[in-house]
């Protein structure tokens, strides 16, 4: 097992360096002088220009620049935002809980609905329920989520006034020492209605972000279950006279879970990409909105740092999924 973890780790390192190289190259690939571009129409004084050239190290050779950058990255120094003047690292981890909370809720939403739906569809293969469910799943999978978000806002916020349109909580609530996880903060503060407000803000973004993973999980669970249900050991279990719920729910589902877990792991990248759109539409103060805003503000140190940190997050999750996969399925470890 240790050997397996180490070999996975060995492939992790070159990818990490490559990812660093891409985010390093990003500012340098911009057409024109990046400092002038960042300054935009306001222009920039000569002292400030010289200061920034020194700060980015543009006066040194490229290899030295990259080495300095890599050293900075490993020490958690990703430069400072051009707009807020705060360190990029601090900004990222201040906003990350918002994205994490939303992504976790979306994932839970997708798993809680998608797994049983896939199992029921597989058990009732070819029947009306199966067909209706799989058509719905394909629609969900094809959904332009930015449009789906607008539709939900029109119906639930505009017509029914059930949910707020944007933000994470009503402005009347204030938490002195927030962790950034709004549900936890709301409960911990003990203020009346705070939790309710947080949940109401969370529901539409959760549905929007969870729609595609939900569809993917339902489809994948169904096909994995269908494959497993054809196996001999299932027939044996049935022949032994075990109740169908036990055969389907325990014998079959356990083995069907392996490909499903992979899909869940792979959805993390999808979630982060989806978070860009979802957060922008719902003004959700997380990483996705921060990145989009920074691109528009030409706040390139933020774009650079955010790009790197997001990729590293995805890599870490994929690494964990790989390890988990090895734990669940010993055959993989031997390869």
């Amino acid at each position: 097992m240790l050997k397996y973890v180490l070999t996975r780790l060995l492939t992790f390192l070159p990818t990490f360096i490559g990812v660093t190289l891409i985010s390093f190259g990003f500012i340098r690939a911009l057409p024109g002088d990046p400092i002038i571009v960042m300054a935009g129409e306001r222009g920039i004084s000569e002292e400030r220009y010289a200061e920034l050239v020194a700060q980015f190290g543009f006066d040194k050779p490229l290899t030295v620049q990259f080495w300095d950058y890599l050293k900075g990255v490993l020490q958690g120094d990703l430069g400072t935002s051009f707009v807020t003047k705060k360190p990029v690292w601090d900004e990222f981890f201040a906003l990350f809980p918002a994205t994490l909370e939303l992504s976790l809720c979306a994932m839970i939403f997708a798993i809680v609905l998608g797994l049983p739906a896939g199992v029921i569809a597989a058990v009732n293969r070819g029947k009306l329920f199966d067909r209706a469910l799989m058509s719905t799943a394909l629609i969900g999978y094809s959904m332009p989520i930015f449009w789906w978000a607008l539709l939900l806002i029109i119906v639930f916020s505009g017509q029914l006034h059930w949910t707020p349109v944007s933000g994470r909580i009503d402005l009347i609530y204030y938490f002195p020492n927030p962790t950034g996880f709004m549900i936890y903060d709301a409960i911990a503060s003990g203020q009346d209605g705070a939790l309710w407000s947080a949940l109401r803000h969370l529901i539409l973004p959760t549905i929007v972000l969870g729609t595609i993973p939900l569809a993917v999980i339902a489809r994948q669970t169904r096909s994995a279950m269908l494959e497993v249900l054809g196996e001999d050991y299932i027939r044996t279990a049935r022949a032994k006279g075990l109740p169908p719920a036990r055969v389907n729910g325990i014998h079959a589902l356990r083995n069907a879970m392996i490909p499903v877990i992979t899909v869940i792991g792979l959805s993390v990248g999808t979630l982060l990409a989806g978070a860009i759109l979802t957060e922008t539409i719902f003004s959700w103060p997380g990483i996705g909105k921060w990145m989009v805003d920074s691109i528009f503000r030409r706040d390139y140190p933020v774009v650079q740092g955010g790009l790197l940190l997001t990729a590293v997050m995805v890599m870490i999750v994929n690494f964990i999924v790989d390890i988990l996969y090895g734990v669940i399925n010993p055959k993989i470890r031997k390869r």
Partner: protein
């Protein structure tokens, strides 16, 4: 000489494909819808009732024909500056298909060539290529596309380049995996023994036998390309106004969602129906081309 392909015992590959494809009713529906959209995209300049950029200032935000205040002059209503929705949607179909075709062509050609190289070249080169693809795949696709567009400057062409770059690693991995599986087989060995060069082995011997999963991937990435281009348009990073691209149309009309449902609803339906039709076809293609799933 007797042409074996014509003997009644064995139907042609196309006929066999159609036989399996037809079994999947959803796929056939998808094909029809796709065909209809393709027709609209091709004929848009001639069948669109109005010029898509013409602003009818006296008909701003006119509702669709079946609602009070609607008229047959603008069957699906008009947008906030008085342009005909139907005409814009029809012309928008052209952009979506253009995006889909160009992205799939660029990403698959690049990906197939790199994947073939990776499968045939020495181990170290293969490792480098796979690592490079892993690096691209480590970034969430839409984020990488956004940043690439930020570097290249927002436009539809740059959005297409960015999406093609982001989608291309999937083709590399798919091609490489099938090449590695095919290379072990006897027919490749015998072709090599018969004196076929590496290039011939790559493109003539092995590639045709790797095409099935690649074709399915092409169908799926066609829809991904349309979705991503619309998403970039929606974030003002794709086609620029007044281009009637569906995502850009949605972005322009966002502030009117409470007042005029049609300016938001129709472009979204257009994206959804197109993507859905292509995904339905993709499912059918997979059933028809993947021998493992064939019910004999």
């Amino acid at each position: 000489m007797i042409d074996l392909a014509q003997s009644p015992a064995r139907p042609s590959a196309l006929a066999e494909f159609w036989f399996y494809f037809r079994e999947n009713r959803g796929a056939v529906i998808g094909l029809w819808v796709f065909g209809a959209f393709l027709l609209i995209a091709l004929l848009a300049p001639w069948i669109a009732p109005h010029d898509p950029t013409m602003q009818y200032r006296e008909h701003i935000l006119q509702p669709p024909v079946w609602q009070d205040g609607g008229s047959w002059a603008f069957p699906l209503g008009t947008d906030p500056v008085g342009r005909d929705m139907l005409s814009r949607l029809m012309v928008g179909a052209r952009f979506s298909f253009f995006v889909g075709i160009v992205v799939v062509a660029v990403a698959s050609t690049g990906g197939i060539i790199i994947g073939l190289l990776s499968g045939f070249m020495p181990r170290w080169l293969d490792t480098i290529i796979i690592r490079l693809m892993d690096i691209i795949l480590a970034f969430p696709s839409l984020l990488l596309a956004l940043v690439l567009v930020a570097v290249l400057g927002p436009s539809l062409v740059n959005a297409m380049i960015a999406i093609a770059i982001v989608l291309q690693p999937h083709y590399v991995r798919l091609t490489r995996a099938s090449v590695l599986a095919e290379r072990q087989k006897d027919y490749v060995t015998s072709a090599r023994v018969a004196g076929a060069g590496t290039l011939r082995l790559m493109f003539v011997t092995v590639l045709p036998n790797c095409m099935a999963p690649i074709i399915v991937q092409a169908a799926l990435s066609f829809s991904t390309a349309i979705l991503d281009a619309a998403a970039l348009g929606f974030l003002n990073m794709g086609a620029q106004p007044p281009t009637p691209e569906w995502g850009t149309m949605l972005a322009e009309s966002r502030e009117f969602i409470q007042r005029a449902w049609w300016v938001v609803t129709f472009p979204g339906i257009a994206i959804l129906v197109t993507v859905l039709a292509i995904n339905l076809m993709g499912d059918g293609l997979r059933d028809a081309l993947d021998p493992k799933l064939k019910r004999s």
